[in-house]
C-alpha cells in the first residue's frame, strides 16, 4: 500500500504546485467547427491578448458546448467565445458576468437549412411540407445556429416538435459534420451556421451537386465574448475594460478572417434577451 500512499501524496503535491502558479488569464471557445482551425485561431488570439493586456493569456480547447460553459462557471476560464445560447446559459450560471463584444456579423446572424440533392428539395421562401418525413440533423445540442433557432423556426412553421415533423432527428455534433453527413446522404436535411457553410464552400469541401441550401432563417443575434464579473478583483482594476478594448481594437485581417468576422463591435447582455426568450419558448432552459 505504501506505493499508493506515495502516489497519492505525489498527486496532492502536483496539485498544490499547480495552484501556486502565477495568475494566467485563461479563455476558451465553443467547439463549433474544425478544431485544428480553432486551435490556430485562438492561439493567435491568445498571443494578441497577451500583448495587449500584459498578462499571460492561455487558450484551452474543450470538446463540447457544455464543457465550455462548465469551465466558465467554475472559473477555470475567465473569458469565452460563446454562441448566443451558450452565452445566455453561462451568464445565468455566473452572476455578474457580461457579454462585452460580438462579431459585426453576429448582429444579424442566420442559419441555413441544407438538403441532399437526392431529396429533390430546392431553395424556397418558406419551410414547406416537402420536408415532412425526411431525416434531419441538427448540429450540437447546445448550438444556437445549429439547434436553437432552426428548432424555433421549425416549430413555428409546422406547429409541432421536430421529432414529429421529421422521421428522425439527430445531432451531428458540429456544423462541419452536419455538412458532411447531409452531403453523404446519411441525413437528408440539416441545419448549419451560415458562416461555416460559406467557409467550407470557399474551401472547396462542398459538392454543390450533392448538397445545397434550401432555406435561410431570419436574422438573430449570435456569438459573443463573455467575461466573468470578478476579473477586476483578480487581474486589477479596469481589466474588464482593457479586455473589451483589446477585442474591439482587433484589426489584424488574418486574425479576424479566421473567425470569420469583419470586426468586433460592443455587445451587452440585453442584446441576447431574444435568444433567452426563444430558448425558454422551446424549453431548452427553464
Amino acid at each position: 500500500m505504501s506505493l499508493f500512499k506515495k502516489l497519492f501524496s505525489t498527486l496532492l503535491f502536483a496539485g498544490a504546485a499547480l495552484s501556486a502558479q502565477a495568475e494566467t488569464f485563461v479563455f476558451t471557445a465553443i467547439p463549433d467547427e474544425d478544431e485544428s482551425r480553432l486551435q490556430q485561431r485562438f492561439n493567435k488570439v491568445a498571443d494578441y491578448l497577451s500583448e495587449q493586456l500584459d498578462v499571460d493569456v492561455k487558450y484551452i480547447p474543450v470538446k463540447s458546448y457544455a464543457a465550455a460553459i462548465t469551465a466558465f462557471r467554475n472559473n477555470q476560464v475567465q473569458l469565452a467565445w460563446f454562441g448566443g445560447l451558450s452565452g445566455v446559459q453561462a451568464r445565468r450560471l455566473v452572476p455578474g458576468s457580461e457579454a462585452i463584444a460580438q462579431g459585426y456579423e453576429d448582429q444579424f446572424f442566420k442559419s441555413y437549412f441544407i438538403a441532399n440533392s437526392s431529396t429533390g428539395l430546392t431553395a424556397a421562401e418558406n419551410l414547406t411540407d416537402a420536408l415532412k418525413g425526411k431525416t434531419f440533423t441538427f448540429g450540437s445540442k447546445g448550438s444556437t445556429s445549429g439547434r436553437l433557432m432552426p428548432e424555433f423556426y421549425l416549430r413555428e412553421a409546422f406547429k409541432a416538435a421536430p421529432e414529429d415533423v421529421f422521421e428522425r432527428v439527430g445531432f451531428s455534433g458540429d456544423h462541419s459534420r452536419t455538412i458532411a453527413q447531409v452531403q453523404s446522404g446519411a441525413y437528408q436535411v440539416g441545419a448549419v451556421n451560415y458562416t461555416v457553410w460559406e467557409n467550407e464552400l470557399a474551401a472547396g469541401n462542398i459538392d454543390p451537386a450533392k448538397v445545397s441550401v434550401i432555406w435561410e432563417t431570419p436574422t438573430y443575434t449570435d456569438y459573443q465574448w463573455t467575461i466573468r464579473g470578478d476579473v477586476n478583483s483578480r487581474f486589477g482594476e479596469g481589466f474588464k475594460d482593457k479586455v473589451r478594448q483589446a477585442l474591439l481594437n482587433m484589426k489584424d485581417k488574418d486574425l479576424l478572417a479566421s473567425f470569420p468576422r469583419e470586426s468586433f463591435v460592443p455587445a451587452t447582455n440585453a442584446d441576447y434577451q431574444a435568444i433567452e426568450d426563444t430558448a425558454k419558448a422551446i424549453g431548452l432552459i427553464d
Partner: protein, 527 residues
Amino acid sequence: MSNNRPNNRPEDFAADGSSVEGAAPAKQSGSLFTAAGRGLSTGRSLGWLSLLLLFSALACLPFADIQVYPSDPWQELGRIGWGFITPWWDDPLSLFYALGQTVAFALLAVLFAVPLGLLLALKWQWRIIRWLAAAVRSVHEIFWGLLFMQLYGLSATTGLLAILIPYTGVFAKVFAEIFARQSRLPQATLSPGSDLISRYAYTLIPQAFAEMSHYVRYRFECALRSSAILGFIGLPTLGFHLETAFKQGDYSNAAALLWLFFLLIATIRFWLKPLLIPLYAIIAVLLLPQLPDTPDGLFWRFISQDIWPYSLQQGDLTSAMMWYSKVFTQEAWPALLDTLMLSQLALVLTGVIALLVYPLGSRALVNRGRLPGRLLLLVMRSTPEMIFAFVLLLVFGPSGLPAVLALAIHNGGLIGFLLAGHSEKQPQRIDDPTGFNRYLYQQTPRLYPGFLAFLFYRWEVILRESAIMGILGIATLGFFIDSAFEEIRYDKAFFLILVTAVLNILVDAVSRRLRRYSGAENAGGLG
C-alpha cells in the same frame, strides 16, 4: 465441504458468497471439481439458455429501431479506407504525449482500483456492497467524466476518477466471483478463529492470485481503451485527437492514432512487466496533464444544489414529485425500453460474431495462420465503438442499426479474443478431430459454457455502452443523459443516471441467476 465444523467461518462465507439470493445450490462453489467449470453445465440447460437469448432478440426485432436509409456513402468510405492505409501525423511529439497520457490515466486508475475493488470483494456477501458495485459500474466512463468535470473541471482528477470508480466496481465483482470459485479446503488448515483478512491473505488470495493478476492485466487493456475514449470529452488522451480527426475527415490522422493505439494494445505483454510498474507509475504521475485549477466548494454546490430539481431545493415536494414523474414517463421509461431492446439485439449478435471469429485467432484451430485472425480481433476490440458507429452511420443511415452493429463488432471481437486464448489452452490429443470438425465438435462445445458466461458479463457492458450512441439520434438512456448534460440540467442527468444504475443492478441480478441455472458460471474469471 460438509466436513467443516458447523460454525466455521469459511463455511459461512461459502454459503453467503454463492447463494445469497437462493438461486444456486450452496455446494456448487465449494467443490473442487466445479473450479474448471464442468459438472453442472448440461448441454440441455445451455441449449435452452441460448434459445431463450435468441428468441428474446427475435422478439425485439419488430419493435427495435433498425431501419436502413439509402445513402451515397462511397466517396466518404473511400476516403476513410484510403486514410486507414495511409496513416500520417505531422507532429510526432504531440502524438506521443497523447499516448503517454492515455497510458498514465489507465495505469494510475487501475493501480488505485485494484486494492479498492479487493476491499469491496471481501464483503461481497453484503447485498449493499453488491448494489454499490453494480451502481458504480453502470455509469459509463464518459458520464463519470462529465460528472466529475463539474467538480474538478478538465483535470487529471476528473480523468482518474472517471476510470477508477467504475473499475473498482468491476474488480470487486470479478474478484468476488474468482474467490467464490476457489476451493475451501485450504482454509481448513487455518485456526478456526482466523479473521477475514487472514483467511484471504493466507488462502484465498494466494490461491486466486494467478487468475486475479491475469484479470487485472486484461482490465488494464480495457482501461487503456477507457482512457483513450475520455479524450472525447476533452481530456488530453488519444481520443481527443481521434475525435477531432474523425470530425474533420482527416482520416490519415485518425488512422495514425488508431494504428498507434493498436500497437500499444498488441504489445502490452512486452512492456507491462510487474517490476517496471512502480517506475511507470512515477512517470505517469509526472505525465498527468497540468490544467487550470477549479475553486473549492464545487463539490458541496454540486451535491446540495446542482443535482436536485429547483422545486425540491425549495422544499416543494409535490412539484418535485411531478417533475420526477414527468422525466420518468416522458424520457426515462421509453428510453429504457429502447436501450434494453438495442442491447438485447447487440448481445445476441455479439455472441454470433464471437463464435464466428474466435477460431481465426486460435492456434488450436488455424495453426500458424492465426496472425491475420489475431490482427482482426485486435482491430475489432480496440477500435472505439464510436468510430464503428460513425462509419456505419454513413452506410446505413441514422437508426439503431449502426449502434447495434458497432456494439456487436466491438464486443464480438473482445469475446472472440478471450475465447481464442482459452481455445489454445485446451488440452489436445493426437487423435483429436482436426479442422472444421475440431471447431464444431470439440472446441466450441468445450468453450460454450465459458462463452455464455462472457456474454453475460458483457450484457451490462453493452447496456452501458449503448448509452454513448446518442450521435445516431436514437433515444437510448444515454442520449437523454447526454442531452441533460448539454443543456446544463444536472438534476435531470443525475436522475437518469440513477435510473440507469437501477436497470444495471437488475440486469446484473438476472444475469447472475441465468448463469447459475445454466451452469455457465465459470469462465476462468474473464469478463
